[in-house]
């Protein structure tokens, strides 16, 4: 039942009688409001697309600083709201995804036209327009930061639809960035967020003609839905990261990096290691180092308890997403040292029916021992057949030849080398683009094979001159089609006969209808409960991102 029907008929239930059929109603609850957001975003994008580089820089820096200033607050909030991860580690991600991100792209320009006299081509950057950003529960605030800032850097407006489990912290983070951006001169409505995300709402927004591009980070179902929407989409699939350690590696460093990475944010990143593959020659030493780093090798009986706990019936139980190792061990009824931060679960063969060979968004790390490098590469390929194609892998080796062979053999689009995968593949400890949104490319049924970056949200109008040498190239030096902006955009609608005389009035808040005139709280709660159940069901199809 829509709010409309409810508003008109408040109390009708008590009076008895037939409820009004849902078939009569055009849109599920919340959808019309969200469609209005897209239209407002369209207006904002239209104006924002005319901003020059200086104005855009001012906006981007203001938003990034506002996000960074609340990095800790949002880290704690996200852990509190979702129950996933480690606040301390989320602080790192939030900083890397705000001011860190802006620093990483400081030398880049997605606003000013590029002039190539040799090719006789001028390239004018054209923003995507309205970006619909779906953000996950596992990296909620960091992903909101990244997507909002990428949109700002490229002059698009963004409507964020957060995962329902991380709804409140994500929405607040989006509003913080929006307020800072607008205070710095960004158009009103440049960053908006859906407060009550739901499956029908997301589907409606994804298919809306006002959506220019969908950037979907989330489970497989959401990503496939994005690609099926009829609109351009950048969707990224789940990971299942193999990490190979060979005999040439610095095993002490490898052990520390793997332990740090696997335990980082309790392994909620989709770039986190899933299966450790080690050659027999290196295994003994590596395991000793791993033990010192807080990785507890499970005995077969304990391994089975953990497997049965985390993969009941062979399916990953999302209750364990982002939980720490000691808690999982306690749930499994096994004793581990107090310093344990990763549970090492050995198994023989990476095959689909082996649950431990699947993605585990918790600090349980599969362990496979292989006779040599080639068998290690084969095992890694086997892990990726099970899941995570196109995503990430890692290797610890001093042999360039092995690294090359590994990279050429695996169906992934990034390999973190001698670095933890969590932050390595995400571009924070490597030279890759810093992002929590990892393109899985054609291997992983995505249009994008790189880490999400500003360039993905901008296209270029190319002015291409006749290549006949007799036709001179134009003199474009100093020509900039964009303009500087100061003051609120759009301006407050002051009466035309007052425009010259009075300063713009303050924006007064929109009057809010009383809750009594909207949906009854009980109905709202019930709808939310149903929708969250639906989302959980979808989630079981994969939580990657």
């Amino acid at each position: 039942m829509t709010p409309a029907a409810e508003e008109g008929m408040r109390g009708a239930g008590e009076a008895g009688g037939r409820p009004i059929s849902i078939d009569l109603l055009t849109d599920p609850a919340g959808v019309p409001r969200a469609r209005a957001m897209l239209q407002r975003a369209q207006w904002a994008a239209r104006t924002f697309g005319e901003f020059n580089k200086d104005t855009v820089d001012r906006v981007v820096h203001a938003a990034a600083r506002a996000g960074a200033a609340k990095a800790r607050e949002y880290a704690e909030w996200a852990v509190r709201e979702t129950g996933f991860g480690v606040a301390e580690h989320k602080v790192v991600k939030n900083l890397a995804s705000s001011t860190g991100l802006v620093e990483a792209y400081a030398g880049h320009d997605y606003v000013t036209p590029r002039i190539d006299p040799a090719a006789k081509i001028v390239e004018i950057p054209r923003p995507a327009g309205v970006v619909l950003a779906l953000t996950p529960s596992t990296n909620p605030v960091a992903t909101v930061f990244v997507k909002a800032l990428l949109a700002l850097m490229t002059r698009s407006a963004v409507v964020i639809s957060p995962h329902p489990l991380a709804r409140e912290c994500s929405a607040d983070a989006a509003r913080t960035l929006a307020a800072a951006a607008e205070a710095a001169g960004a158009p009103d409505g440049v960053i908006q967020v859906v407060d009550e995300p739901s499956v029908p709402l997301i589907n409606a927004l994804m298919a809306d003609e006002r959506t220019s591009v969908i950037v979907a980070t989330g489970g497989t179902a959401v990503v496939r839905a994005a690609y099926s929407s009829g609109n351009p989409a950048i969707g990224v699939g789940p990971g299942n990261v193999p990490v190979l350690v060979d005999g040439t590696a610095d095993l002490a460093k490898a052990a520390r990096r793997i332990a740090d990475s696997k335990s980082f944010d309790n392994s909620v990143l989709c770039t986190s290691e899933s299966v450790l593959i080690v050659t027999e020659a290196a295994a003994g030493t590596l395991l000793r180092h791993l033990k010192r780093e807080g990785c507890h090798l499970l005995e077969p009986a304990d391994r089975d308890k953990v497997r049965d706990l985390v993969f009941p019936g062979g399916q990953f139980d999302t209750r364990f997403v982002g939980k720490d190792a000691a808690w999982i061990a306690a749930q499994a009824g096994i004793r581990v040292p107090g310093t344990t931060r990763v549970l090492l679960a050995p198994f023989g063969l990476a095959v689909p029916e082996e649950p431990l060979a699947h993605e585990k968004l918790c600090p349980v790390l599969g362990l496979v021992t292989v006779p040599g490098d080639q068998q290690g590469i084969d095992a890694a390929r086997a892990v990726l057949r099970i899941g995570g194609r196109g995503h990430s892998a890692a290797i610890h080796s001093a042999s360039a030849a092995t690294v090359m062979a590994y990279g050429a053999a695996l169906e992934v689009l990034r390999v973190a080398v001698n670095a933890g995968s969590s932050l390595g593949a995400a571009g924070i400890e490597t030279g890759l683009a810093p992002s929590m949104t990892i393109g899985t490319g054609f291997f992983g049924r995505s249009s994008v094979g790189e880490n999400l970056q500003p360039g993905h949200l901008v296209q270029w109008t190319r002015l291409a001159y006749n290549n006949d040498p007799a036709e001179a190239f134009g003199d474009f030096a100093g020509l900039d089609p964009w303009t500087a902006h100061t003051g609120p955009v759009p301006p407050y609608p002051v009466a035309s006969n007052l425009r010259e005389t009075s300063p713009p009035a303050e924006r007064s808040p929109v009057p809010v209808m009383t809750p009594a005139a909207g949906e009854p709280d009980s109905l709202r709660a019930e709808i939310r409960r149903i929708l969250i159940e639906e989302l959980r069901a979808i989630q079981r199809g994969g939580l990657g991102g």
């Binding site: 029907a5 508003e7 008109g8 008929m9 849109d27 209808m513 009383t514």
Partner: protein, 426 residues
């Protein structure tokens, strides 16, 4: 079924029947004006003539279609309501009327506490005037010359004599008209302390939206307080976010004693009007609640339509869009004006309330005709035909605004030539 009931062999025969059975003068007027419009389909901001011609509607019946024609959300609300409700029984407390009253009061300027319903704007104005008379025990009503507040018994007397004298409904002894933007004249009218109320459209629509001079309305409000008269804000055309605020009067910092809304309040799907009154003015509702009765006043289907309309209108996104649209259209119209400064002489604008002034006593009629040819429907101001009323909708898209401006620029240029050549466009 509906098509069978209303089908005619041709547009010509339909117009002939309209002359014969409906309104001969009005039917002929539009034919003579070059706007032979018989509206058939309608959707969003488009209306289609029975012969298929598409027009962008920037008349909107004075804001009735603020949210577009046949807004899908309003349709859904009314359709759902019809499965259970009809207009209701006006004597009894009702779910829909109460819910709407609460929503109106919660979004209204502070101090307005009760809602009285009518079925249309004129009735609502009559209710407002009767309420003021009851509260003050005075008869005199002050309005501005060329005002327009409707055609019912009391409302028509507040307006231009064109509509009152014809029906012998003018009552100069009780209804005093003073020039707009003239505080001295207003003080003169109120000085005797015998006026029950001043009734003001925040921007007089039918007079071509002349803007209140800086401080004028505020001054009127002060004079009302000084001389014991109530201030009635007629927000039928200026309310409902058209100026970027839900009620335009709040842009002046004025809390009226009575506020009247109609037209757009129910999304153009089912008529309803409402009078919001302060506690001090609402005395008759406690003294004799049956004193004003209206079978269709506050019809429940209309209340449901209004609840939905108000909810949509109050979304923050809509207000933001109004800012954008008024900025884009204002800028675009000023560019057109720069091309024809001697012809297109003024733009009166407060948000999406706009009056376009032309340098000819009937200038807006020339422009209206050319706009029609170019696919835009906008109406001249009845009481000042130099001025075209230009009332774009709240949900206009950037593309539609661009298309509108293109059409308007061409039409205004062509109308200038028409007026200059002196040809009577009728």
């Amino acid at each position: 079924m509906a098509e069978e009931l209303i089908a005619f062999p041709s547009k010509g025969e339909m117009l002939e029947a309209s002359r014969q059975f409906w309104n001969p003068d009005k039917t002929q007027f539009w034919v003579d004006s070059g706007v032979p419009l018989v509206i058939d389909r309608r959707e969003g901001y488009f209306i289609y003539d029975v012969e298929g011609k598409r027009l962008i509607d920037v008349h909107l019946n004075g804001g009735t279609y603020n949210l577009g024609h046949r807004n899908p959300e309003v349709i859904a609300a009314v359709t759902a309501a019809m499965q259970r409700f009809d207009i209701g029984n006006h004597h009894f407390p009702s779910l829909a009327r109460t819910a709407l009253a609460e929503a109106l009061i919660s979004t209204a300027p502070a101090g307005l506490t009760k809602v009285i319903y009518g079925s249309g704007g004129g009735e609502a104005i009559d209710i407002a005037l009767k309420t003021a008379r009851h509260a003050t025990k005075k008869r005199k009503i002050v309005s501005v010359a060329k005002a327009y507040h409707g055609h019912t018994g009391l409302a028509v007397a507040t307006g231009d004599e064109r509509f009152a004298a014809l029906f012998l409904a003018d009552r100069p002894d009780e209804f005093v008209h003073v020039p707009f933007n003239d505080l001295g004249a207003m003080e003169q009218a109120l000085r005797g302390r015998d006026a029950a109320a001043v009734i003001m459209e925040t921007i007089p629509a039918t007079y071509g939206f002349p803007l209140p001079a800086p401080g004028y309305l505020e001054g009127v409000r002060r004079l009302c307080e000084a001389h014991g008269a109530l201030y009635i804000a007629d927000e039928v055309q200026t309310g409902l976010m058209r100026t970027g605020e839900l009620w335009a009067i709040t842009k002046h910092g004025i809390t009226p004693d009575i506020l009247v809304t109609g037209k757009g309040i129910s999304g153009g799907m089912y008529p309803v009007s409402a009078v919001l009154v302060s506690e001090a003015a609402a005395g008759w509702l406690s003294e004799d609640g049956f004193a004003h009765m209206s079978t269709f006043g506050g019809a429940e289907l209309g209340c449901v339509a209004a609840l939905k309309t108000l909810e949509i209108t109050c979304r923050p996104e809509i207000r933001s869009m109004v800012f954008y649209i008024s900025d884009l259209l204002g800028t675009g119209l000023r560019a057109v004006q720069a091309a024809y400064p001697d012809w297109f002489t003024g733009i009166r604008q407060n948000g999406l309330v706009m009056g376009l002034e032309f340098d000819h006593p009937q200038g807006a009629k020339y422009v209206m005709k050319r706009l029609y040819e170019n696919g835009v429907w906008a109406i001249f101001s009845t009481l000042d035909p130099r001025v075209l009323q230009f009332k774009p909708g709240l949900l206009m898209t950037p593309d539609l605004c661009g298309e509108l401006l293109d059409r308007v620029a061409v039409a205004i240029g062509a109308a200038r030539d028409d007026a200059a050549s002196g040809r009577r466009q009728a």
